[in-house]
Amino acid sequence: MIGVISAAATRALLGRRRTLLLVLFAAVPVLVALLARDRGANASETAAALIDVLVIRAVLPITALVLGTAALGSELEDGTAVFLLTSPVPRSSIVAAKLLVAAGGTALIAGGSALAAGLIVATDSASVGVVLAAVVGVVAGAVLYAALFLAASVVTNRALIVGLLYTLVWEGALASLFAGTRLLSIRQYILAIVDAVSGLLSRPYGNPFGETLETSTAVVLGAVVLAISVAVAIARLRAWEIGPAD
C-alpha cells in the first residue's frame, strides 16, 4: 500500500512546476563550484564552505520545505486529499509513503547538488572524502527536515512560514547568538554527522566545518526529532477534519 501511495505522490511531485524550480535552484551550487575551481585554495576547505553555505543552509532546507509541505499539506488544503483519506488505508502508511517521497526527493535534489558541486572543486582524496561525508550528512538531513516540515504541514496550513522561520531565524540567526539552540537544530545534527563521517574517511585533516555537537548526541536527538515528527503527523492525520462547508 505504501508503494501505491508513494508512486502516486511521486507522480504528483513530478507534475508540479515548483519541482522544476527546485532543480534549477539546486544547480546554483554547481555553477558556483565551476567558478570556484582551480583558484589554488585548499580544496577540502573550498568544498566544505561551498556545501555548507549553499547546500546545507539553503538548497537542503528549502527543498525539504517545499517537498515536505507539498506531499500532504497542499493536498489537505486543496481538497484532493479526501480521495486518499476516504480509503481503507492506515494513516501511518499514508504518512510513511508521503515521507518516503518527500525525503527521497529532497535527498536526490540536495544530495545531488552537494555531490556535483563538491566533486567539481575536489582535487585530492582528502577533499573527495569531505564531499562524500557532506553528502551523507545532506541525505540524513533530508530525512529529518522532510519529516519535520511534513508534520508541520499536517498541524498548520502556514507550514511554509513556520518552516522558513525555523530555518532562517532559529537555525540561522539565533544559533549564532545562543549556543543552546544548537541542541534543537537539524543543521547542527547534519554538521556533527558530516564531522563523524569525514573523520572516518580522512582523519588527519580534522573537521573542515568547525566545532559541532558530539556525534552520539546529534544522532540521538536526530532520531528523537524524526520519531516525534512522524508520531505527530500520524496522530494529527488520524484526527484530521475537513473544513466547514463554504
Partner: protein, 328 residues
C-alpha cells in the same frame, strides 16, 4: 417534528439486526467555533434512495462529512453498518463518498484516478483496472477516460468522482450535490443510475437544495433547515406538508375593505389585514383560497386587480416546517 411518525427513531434501528447498508445519526450536533452547523439531528436510513434536502448552508454537507468520517460530531454518534464513523479507515470498504468540492488531481486521467482508488481499496492491479473500466462505463465516461481530468467539464469531473466512489462497489453511497454542473441529459442519466444502484440493495444518501431533483429521485426525504431536521419521511408526505401550509397572498381590488369582510367569515381564512393600499390575506391552504377569493369577489361585484403570493421561496417553506409549535 423529530417525533414525526414517518421518521424511524435512531434507537429503534440500533436494536434491530444491523443492516450492512444502514446509516444512523443519533442526536448529532456539530459546531464550528460559535456557529452551530448541525443541531441535534437523528435519523436512520436503509437501502434505497434518500434525499437530504435543504437550502445552501443548512448543514447538509456537514452531515455527509460526519457520516463519511471526515468530521467528528461535537456530540452524539454516527454509524454506518453499525460501525462508528469517526477515526475508522476500515469504514471506507463499505462507503463511497462523492464530495461536492470539484478538486481532483488534474494531471491524472479519469482512468488513472479510478484505478488508483481501486488500488487504495486493496484491489490487485489487474482487478483494479477491470473495476475502474466498469465504474467508468457505468458513469458513461469511457470515451474520455484517458484524457487528463484538468481538461474535463464540471459534469465530467462529477462523473469521474462518482466512478472513483463506485470502484469497490460499496453498499453505501454518499453524494454531496451530485447534480451540480450536470446538463439535463446527464442529470437524467444520473437519476437513472442512482435508482438502478438503489434497486440492487444499496443505500444512497444524496444532498440537494433543489426540491424537484429530490422529488424525482428520492423515495424518502430528510429536510434540513438551519442545522435541524425539519421533516423526514415519504416525499409525498413532505410535499403535502409544503403545499398545505398557510399561505399569504397580496390582493388589490376595487374594494379591499368589503372583500376582507366577506373573506374573513370563512374558517379557512386565518386573517386579513389592510396595509399600504392593499389587502393581505392569510389562508390555511391554497385550495381554500383559490375557491373563496373569486366567489367572494363575484358575489360582492368586486373586481380583482392583482393577486400575488408572497412567500413562495423554498427558504420560507423550510422556515415554516421548523416553526416551533406548528400544528399538523
Amino acid at each position: 417534528m423529530s417525533d414525526g411518525p414517518a421518521l424511524d427513531s435512531a434507537a429503534a434501528s440500533v436494536s434491530r439486526a444491523v443492516d450492512p447498508a444502514s446509516i444512523v445519526l443519533d442526536h448529532v450536533s456539530r459546531w464550528f467555533g460559535n456557529v452551530v452547523a448541525v443541531n441535534d439531528v437523528s435519523f436512520s436510513v436503509g437501502p434505497g434512495v434518500t434525499g437530504l434536502l435543504g437550502p445552501n448552508g443548512a448543514g447538509k454537507t456537514t452531515i455527509l462529512n460526519i457520516l463519511a468520517g471526515l468530521l467528528r460530531p461535537s456530540t452524539g454518534g454516527s454509524s454506518v453498518a453499525g460501525r462508528g464513523t469517526w477515526r475508522d479507515p476500515e469504514l471506507y470498504r463499505l462507503l463511497g463518498l462523492v464530495p461536492e468540492r470539484e478538486a481532483v488531481p488534474g494531471y491524472l486521467s479519469a482512468e488513472e484516478f479510478v484505478v488508483l482508488r481501486g488500488r487504495l481499496q486493496g484491489l490487485p492491479p489487474p482487478r483494479a483496472v477491470e473495476a475502474a473500466r466498469r465504474a467508468l462505463a457505468t458513469v458513461e465516461l469511457s470515451d474520455v477516460a484517458r484524457r487528463p481530468m484538468a481538461t474535463y467539464s464540471k459534469g465530467m469531473r462529477q462523473r469521474a468522482k462518482l466512478a472513483a466512489a463506485l470502484v469497490h462497489d460499496p453498499p453505501v453511497l454518499l453524494l454531496d450535490e451530485p447534480f451540480n454542473g450536470l446538463d439535463p441529459r446527464q442529470r437524467l442519466h444520473m437519476i437513472d443510475l442512482l435508482r438502478r444502484m438503489a434497486a440492487e440493495g444499496r443505500t444512497i444518501l444524496f444532498s440537494s437544495h433543489i426540491l424537484e431533483e429530490v422529488e424525482r429521485l428520492a423515495e424518502r426525504i430528510l429536510v434540513i433547515y438551519s442545522g435541524r431536521l425539519a421533516a423526514a419521511g415519504d416525499y409525498r408526505e413532505i410535499r403535502r406538508l409544503m403545499t398545505d401550509r398557510p399561505h399569504t397572498v397580496i390582493v388589490r381590488s376595487s374594494d379591499d375593505r368589503r372583500l376582507a369582510g366577506s373573506l374573513i367569515v370563512d374558517p379557512a381564512i386565518l386573517g386579513t389585514e389592510l396595509v399600504d393600499g392593499h389587502l393581505r390575506v392569510r389562508a390555511a391552504d391554497y385550495g381554500a383560497l383559490a375557491r373563496l377569493l373569486p366567489r367572494a369577489a363575484r358575489s360582492d361585484a368586486i373586481s380583482l386587480h392583482e393577486v400575488r403570493p408572497t412567500d413562495e421561496s423554498l427558504e420560507s417553506v423550510f422556515a415554516y416546517l421548523v416553526e416551533p409549535g406548528r400544528s399538523r
